[in-house]
Symmetry: C2
Subunit: 269 residues, 2 copies
């Protein structure tokens, strides 16, 4: 259902306002139960993953490319705006000219993921781009899912979705109900938990990978930007592993560390 809108203050565009203001968006998106997908490829992936659209906001030139997606929901409004109106509404130049607002589905219960063979577990990773990047790497490298501590950034925030290239729709993930109980919950599920750390007494990640016989079910724990894993999560893990670093250099970015761990400990076919 196409509707041409030429007034940036039209209340029907309310899902799309001020997309760069993260605190405003956080409350708006949770109140309304929505998330925003940006760009044709990401919109398509959200739709293919079974998410239900609330509306689309498209520059005219994007109508044809998304035609098959739009036809699937003939009753969902497609707001057609020129790029100047889109910029006024969203607060930035929408390079890819295509936005969609989707209903947030309920997250799966954590028990649905605890039987997996390979899980990434994030503790208080607060940067949306990092969360998106970790999920993209985990999906690409054949991992089964991700668990997020309660304070982690929202994987369905626009920037996380975008950086993940839509992997947040393909890779199963959910929130851990409790930060405190997480190490115990994972161990009780029969997972071997690997805490990634810079501690001197940790084993070399490559040595750990060589020792695995392929039958283990693994969860890799990665800590917050800056401080890394908490003592509780680190000491609560089955094993602590270290990526060898050049002396005197900062730790790796958490997304780089996650990519390396997901590669080194990937399920072997």
């Amino acid at each position: 259902m196409q509707v041409v809108v030429d007034d940036a203050d039209d209340p029907r565009l309310g899902d799309y306002v001020r997309l760069r203001e993260s605190s405003l968006r956080k409350s708006l998106e949770s109140e309304r139960g929505l998330f925003i997908a940006e760009g044709e490829k990401v919109i398509r992936r959200a739709a293919e993953a079974g998410h239900a659209p609330r509306s689309f906001l498209l520059a005219p030139r994007w109508l044809a490319g998304l035609d098959d997606v739009l036809r699937r929901w003939p009753d969902v409004p497609v707001y057609v705006v020129d790029e100047a109106v889109a910029e006024q509404v969203t607060g930035f130049h929408v390079h890819r000219g295509a936005l969609a607002s989707f209903h947030r589905a309920d997250l799966p219960p954590v028990g649905d993921l605890l039987g997996a063979s390979r899980l990434v577990v994030l503790e208080d990773v607060v940067d949306h781009a990092n969360v998106g990047a970790v999920l993209r790497s985990a999906a690409g490298l054949g991992w089964d899912g991700a668990l997020l501590s309660p304070r982690c950034a929202d994987p369905l925030y626009r920037r996380a979705v975008k950086v993940s290239m839509g992997a947040v729709f393909a890779l199963p993930w959910t929130r851990l109900p409790s930060w405190r109980e997480a190490p115990g919950l994972l161990a009780d599920s029969g997972l071997t938990t690997v805490a990634l750390t810079l501690a001197d007494d940790a084993v070399d990640l490559a040595d750990l990978a060589a020792e695995l016989d392929g039958s283990e079910r693994l969860a890799v724990l990665l800590g917050t930007e800056g401080a890394g894993l908490s003592e509780r999560w680190s000491s609560g893990a089955t094993v602590r592993a270290r990526i060898p670093m050049r002396a005197g250099v900062d730790s790796l970015n958490v997304a780089a560390a996650a990519a390396i761990a997901c590669y080194a400990l990937a399920p072997r076919p």
Copy 2:
């Protein structure tokens, strides 16, 4: 030399204007021969790497923490501004309240890096965050330097500097003089060049790593976002290697691929 400035239009703040407008900044920074460092840690690292400051722009609360750095250049102006003025000048809220403008030094000649044992070589990586992330991982994992094709994004652009956590100052890097001649130049220098690709006939990266005897000097070639390596660079490499991916998933982000390659092919002590 501290100077309190309360007018955002003061021409002495001209190095810091509209930091988020990348096309404006690109021409301004190359005309004036400067780059911007943001945050106490990154400013400190630029100074320690021997870069000469043009000026500092600090909120009052940052003066004490950077005192030792400021004392090294008693004649360099320190513009002290409140955060509202900083925001007016730069166009965004400067979370870390500290900026500095440094003179750009000449890049080293490419020949200075060609004798290295481990080089990352980027072809047309156009996203500043990706360039910064790759350099951070390369530095952390013990690689010797990086070479950038002429069209790669600028490692000294503010966002690249920030994402690299200052690794752009610690890791030697320079521009390749020619995109076309790069594969030949690397081969003529006795480097074994490894093209990272998704091609089916490429060898598994882990198999390649296992075959190395530790004496090889390696250059890993990574391609542009989206399209990956050009045919010229890919077919011009000594060997083509592949990171195994889950069927149907997009390639990895170039920064994730670089982290994995730098880990898998790292110099062994």
